[in-house]
C-alpha cells in the first residue's frame, strides 16, 4: 500500500480546487453572456444588469403594458379596414399565419422577442408590399394578430422611395391621410445623404401604421413597414 506525501496531497487538493473553481467561474461567466443567463448579472455586486434584461412578462401583463404604451398614440377615428398585406389585425390567428407561411414555403421561426419571424418573404406572399427580408408577427394571448413588422435592405434609392410611395398610396386608400408625412418619396430625397429618411405614419383609434425608407449609408437603403392593433 502506497501513501501520498502530505504536502504533495495538499498541493494536488489545492490544484483540484483551483481548477474546479476556474471551470465553474468560466462556466458562470459564459452562461451570463447568454440571453438566458444575463439576468444573473443583477446579482453580481457592482455589475448593474441591463434593465431591459428583466424577466419576461406573462402574456396578460404584456398586453397591459401594451395598452399603457400604445394608448397615447391612438388617433381619433377608426380605420376603415384592419386588413394589412395578407392579414387582418385582430382577426388573423397564429394558425392562419402558420398556414400562410407553409403555403408560400417560407422559413419562419420564433423571433428574438416576437412570436414569429419569417425571412425572405416575396412580394407575392404579401399581397401589396415589396419583397421583404424579414416579416415578424406578434399575437395577443387569444392568438389573434396584434402587430406585423417587415423590413428589407435595398441597393438603390429608387427602390426604397418606390416602396414608400407604393405603400403610402395603399395606406391612404385604407386609412386616409397620414398623420405625419416626412419627405417626398423620391429617389433624390432618400439618396440625399446617410440617414436621409422619408416616412409616413398613420394613427387611427384602432390601428397604427408606419412606412419608412432610410439611407443606411454605403449604398444601402432600408425600408420598413409596421402595423399595430391599438388597445381599446
Amino acid at each position: 500500500m502506497t501513501t501520498t506525501h502530505p504536502i504533495r496531497r495538499r498541493v494536488l487538493q489545492a490544484a483540484g480546487v483551483t481548477s474546479g473553481l476556474s471551470i465553474a467561474f468560466v462556466a458562470i461567466v459564459g452562461f451570463a453572456h447568454t440571453e438566458a443567463g444575463r439576468p444573473l448579472l443583477r446579482y453580481i455586486p457592482g455589475m448593474s444588469a441591463c434593465p431591459l434584461d428583466g424577466p419576461p412578462l406573462t402574456a396578460e401583463d404584456r398586453m397591459r403594458v401594451r395598452e399603457q404604451t400604445l394608448g397615447p398614440l391612438a388617433g381619433t377615428t377608426p380605420a376603415s379596414t384592419r386588413t394589412v398585406l395578407a392579414f387582418e389585425l385582430g382577426t388573423t390567428r397564429r394558425h392562419d399565419v402558420d398556414a400562410w407561411a407553409l403555403a408560400h414555403g417560407l422559413a419562419c421561426a420564433p423571433g428574438r422577442k416576437l412570436a414569429l419571424r419569417c425571412t425572405d418573404v416575396p412580394a407575392a406572399a404579401l399581397g401589396g408590399s415589396g419583397d421583404l427580408d424579414e416579416v415578424s408577427f406578434d399575437f395577443a394571448p387569444d392568438d389573434t394578430l396584434v402587430a406585423l413588422e417587415g423590413s428589407a435592405r435595398l441597393a438603390d434609392a429608387s427602390s426604397a422611395a418606390a416602396f414608400v410611395a407604393r405603400r403610402d398610396a395603399s395606406l391612404r386608400t385604407s386609412m386616409g391621410e397620414p398623420t405625419t408625412a416626412r419627405g417626398e418619396a423620391t429617389a433624390a430625397a432618400v439618396a440625399r445623404g446617410p440617414l436621409s429618411q422619408v416616412s409616413r405614419e398613420f394613427r387611427r383609434s384602432d390601428v397604427r401604421a408606419q412606412v419608412v425608407a432610410t439611407n443606411l449609408g454605403h449604398g444601402r437603403f432600408g425600408v420598413r413597414e409596421f402595423h399595430q392593433l391599438l388597445p381599446g
Partner: protein, 199 residues
C-alpha cells in the same frame, strides 16, 4: 472628436446600452422626460438655426459616406445639441417602447413603473453626455460589447433602431445636413455596427 463621440453615444443609445448602467443614479441633476409623454418639449427649436456654429472651425472630412463624397460636420455638436440629450434620449425610449419590434424588450421595464423608465432614460442621457464630453463619469454601465453580447441583435433590428433615432432627431428639428454629416458616419460604420449586431 466630439462628432464621433456623440454619434457613438447615439449608437449605443439606439441599442439600449446607455440604459444598462446604474439605473438608480441621479447625481447628475439631469431629469429625463416622464413615461407616456412622447411629446416632450425639445430643447432644440425646430424653427431656429443652430447658433453655435464656429465659422473658424475647419469642416471635418469623412470620405466614408454613402456616396463616397466628402462630408462635413460644420457645427459644434456638443454646444449645439448637448442640452437636448435628455429630451432626445427620453423620446427614443418612448418611441422604441411603442415600436412592435422593440415593445417586448421594453415591456418589463415599463411594467416596473414610471420611476424605472425615467431612471433608464436618465442613464441613457448620462451615457451620451459622458461620451459627448459634457460630463465625466456620469455613466457607470458596461461597455458596448459587454452590453450586447448574448442579445443576438439582428441587422434588421439595428436598422430599425437607427430609423427611430433619425425620426427623433428630425422631430426635434435637427437639420438634415447635421444628421447626415455629424451623426451618420459612425452609426452606419460597419466596424461600429459589428460591436452591436450578432453578438
Amino acid at each position: 472628436m466630439i462628432r464621433n463621440t456623440f454619434v457613438a453615444s447615439l449608437g449605443a443609445l439606439a441599442l439600449f446600452l446607455g440604459g444598462c448602467g446604474d439605473d438608480t443614479s441621479d447625481d447628475t441633476g439631469v431629469s429625463g422626460p416622464t413615461t407616456g409623454d412622447p411629446t416632450v418639449d425639445p430643447t432644440v427649436d425646430p424653427t431656429e438655426e443652430p447658433t453655435t456654429v464656429d465659422p473658424t472651425e475647419e469642416p471635418t472630412t469623412d470620405p466614408d459616406s454613402s456616396s463616397g463624397d466628402p462630408v462635413a460636420c460644420v457645427v459644434d455638436v456638443c454646444a449645439t445639441y448637448g442640452a437636448a440629450v435628455p429630451a432626445v434620449a427620453g423620446q427614443i425610449v418612448d418611441i422604441a417602447a411603442a415600436d412592435p419590434l422593440f415593445e417586448a424588450d421594453f415591456a418589463p421595464l415599463v411594467a416596473e413603473g414610471p420611476a424605472a423608465v425615467d431612471a433608464f432614460k436618465l442613464s441613457l442621457a448620462n451615457f451620451i453626455s459622458d461620451a459627448y464630453g459634457c460630463t465625466e463619469g456620469a455613466y457607470t454601465g458596461p461597455t458596448m460589447v459587454e452590453a450586447h453580447t448574448g442579445l443576438a441583435i439582428t441587422q434588421a433590428e439595428y436598422d430599425a433602431f437607427i430609423s427611430i433615432i433619425v425620426d427623433v432627431l428630425t422631430t426635434n428639428g435637427v437639420p438634415e445636413d447635421d444628421i447626415s454629416f455629424c451623426f451618420a458616419p459612425t452609426l452606419v460604420d460597419p466596424a461600429f455596427v459589428e460591436t452591436i449586431v450578432g453578438l
